[in-house]
């Protein structure tokens, strides 16, 4: 709490450690309450939307928990609409005449294919049904450390380098080697041939 008070008293622009859960006194919301059937539908949807790799043990549960936390930040009507879409998608095999078992009752491949079909529907409401849950699930999955590693994306190390550069610039050191490395095919051309600067 002392930290919280200190944070609220001083306004400055100093960089921090860029931790995933910054210790700044801010609390993330509790998960949105879902009944067991809705949780099962969400679980099946997550399983169908995610790729096989690079999942880790427990990643699906963590993603489900985060999706439910995000729902707390939405207006209640939006969150309830999302719950309704979970159930509609869960029973999409039935209303798409693909069988009588829900998504959670069938194989993952079948669910993935059916969701693909829905997301390319000509009808906007059907496409929209997939859009919200897919955005929530995939944005969470592609924000995970093991997935970043698979994509060779390491923003923290890069930003730390840049913060050090900014400190050097403040000391008046402006070095050519601090430029972002040119992608090989671009080297032949002028690096940044701006024609004019907007006034």
């Amino acid at each position: 709490m002392a930290d919280r008070k200190k944070r609220l008293e001083v306004m400055d622009d100093r960089p921090g450690p860029m931790d995933r859960h910054p210790d700044d006194g801010w609390e993330i919301a509790e998960p949105f309450p879902l009944d067991p059937r809705s949780r099962r539908a969400l679980g099946a949807l997550i399983d169908a939307l995610l790729p096989e790799g690079p999942r880790t043990a427990g990643s699906e549960e963590e993603i489900a928990l985060h999706v439910r936390r995000m729902m707390r930040y939405m207006p209640l009507t939006t969150a309830l609409g999302l719950v309704a879409s979970l159930h509609l998608l869960e029973w999409s095999p039935l209303w798409r005449l693909r069988g009588i078992r829900p998504l959670s009752g069938g194989a993952r491949g079948r669910a993935t294919r059916l969701l693909r079909e829905l997301s390319h529907s000509r009808l906007v409401p059907i496409r929209t049904l997939v859009l919200g849950p897919r955005a929530l699930v995939l944005s969470t999955f592609y924000d995970r450390d093991e997935v970043h590693a698979a994509l060779e994306y390491e923003p923290r190390a890069f930003i730390r380098e840049r913060i050090a550069l900014r400190e050097r610039l403040a000391r008046g050191e402006n070095r050519e080697q601090d430029a972002i490395p040119l992608a090989a095919p671009l080297e032949a051309a002028q690096a940044h041939p701006a024609q004019k600067v907007a006034s």
Binding site: E9, D24, A29, P51, Y153, R156, A198, S199
Partner: protein, 507 residues
Amino acid sequence: MISEHADYARREEQRAEIVVIGTGAGGAVVGAELAEAGYDVLFLEEGGYHPTSSMNPYVQESIPRMYRDASATIIFGRAPISYVEGRCVGGSTTINGGMAYRAPEAILAEWARSMGQPDLGPASLEEHFLRVEAATNVGPQLNTSIGNDSRIMAQGAAKLGWEYVENPRNQDRCVGANSCVLGCPTGAKRSTLVSYMPRAIAAGARCLTEVKATKLIIEGGRCVGVEGRAINPRTRRQDKRVRIRAKAVVVACGAVQTPTLLLRHGLGRPSGQLGRNFTCHPNAKVLAVYPFEVRAWQGVNQAGQIREFHDQGILFAENFIPPGALAANMPLHGEEIHEAMLDYNRMVLTGVLVEDSTSGRIHRLPFGGALPRYDITAHDHARFLWGVRKLAELHFEMGASKVYLPFSNLHVAHHPDELARIAETQRSVQTIELFTPHLMGTARMGSRPSESVVDLRGEVWDLPGCFVADASLFPSAIGVNPQVTIMAMADQVAHRMGESRSLRRAA
């Protein structure tokens, strides 16, 4: 002093001379200027306070902290447009790309002409532009911050003979960390979080965060305060009542939330324009994949814009985003999305921005929510199709191996010849996927109550004591990033309020 939910009593009562709702490009400027002029200013901010030291490059952390409704916001219409806006101290300036363009002179001259009022023209706004540009350190980028996606756009434009213009940005030694949209972690971007708000607080202003303004307090036909609800950060329930009495109220909640609050009181009657004239610069994304590593996440998020077609109301620009945000916007899942995302380091995300030729409307829902509506016109649709094709051609010209297109029924092209299919397949407006961060014009400023919602001081025609200072003031779309124009108009409103004799006397 900054306060948050835990600091409030169950029924919190405060007084101030001026209460400002919102701390973004409009609210922070008005509040800081008035606080420095000696007024007792109190800010009301729906979001939380997240200093630079808490910024990090993780979507999961930053979206709930800083984006309205965790970014699940949509403009309904043909076609639906997803939009984003900030909900935190600094508002959208905390999460935008930091582009600092002035509204074009021709637009300002048109505002002055159509409203019959030179106060909205370029000459009158000049001093305000200069002030806000100085306060937020607007200038060109350092060469060391330019990344490969910007180089591709600049070189592609040069190859095709198109005009490419370097962006002016509100930054101080920006080194291209490219985390603008999740809050600048270096402190370089001069959002109002690190420019105007510290000035306001140093001048004695108070800021109540985590409070949603729910209604204005109106007595004797005059606005004398605001009532709000404090949001419990764990449950997100509005569980405490906050009342602030003031001599004047400045509403600066943005072009969607400002009319929603004012509509609760049935305002805007003289013209019937409140909530109307909603414009949003819709844009469509074109994502190119190159056969070499671009690492677009390294380098400033947008170094310049292709303005060759600006007289047709079309801009092209790059704007790279973290993988979590990118994956959420791709029409793929399962193994397909992962196969695509494995190319993340070879991707360049660009957009076609189209200046509105029409406008929409903000409706207020029965329980206080906002319902934005906007239908793009056939003319705008045609400009999108043309713009997407041209931008995709630039990428193929620069050697892209594949381009993802913003159409639900045609989302990838592997060769420039395939772009001809755009015209064949895109007959309906419903298949285009649109997005916007620019929301404008729902409480237009003007010199006649029959045509506008607020007067030239920003005061609502039919509610004395209530002022507006945000993008809602725009009489029309401006065709460029609106931040600096919002700030300049807010600066003008602040100075006129400061000069107001009645306000002075009250203070």
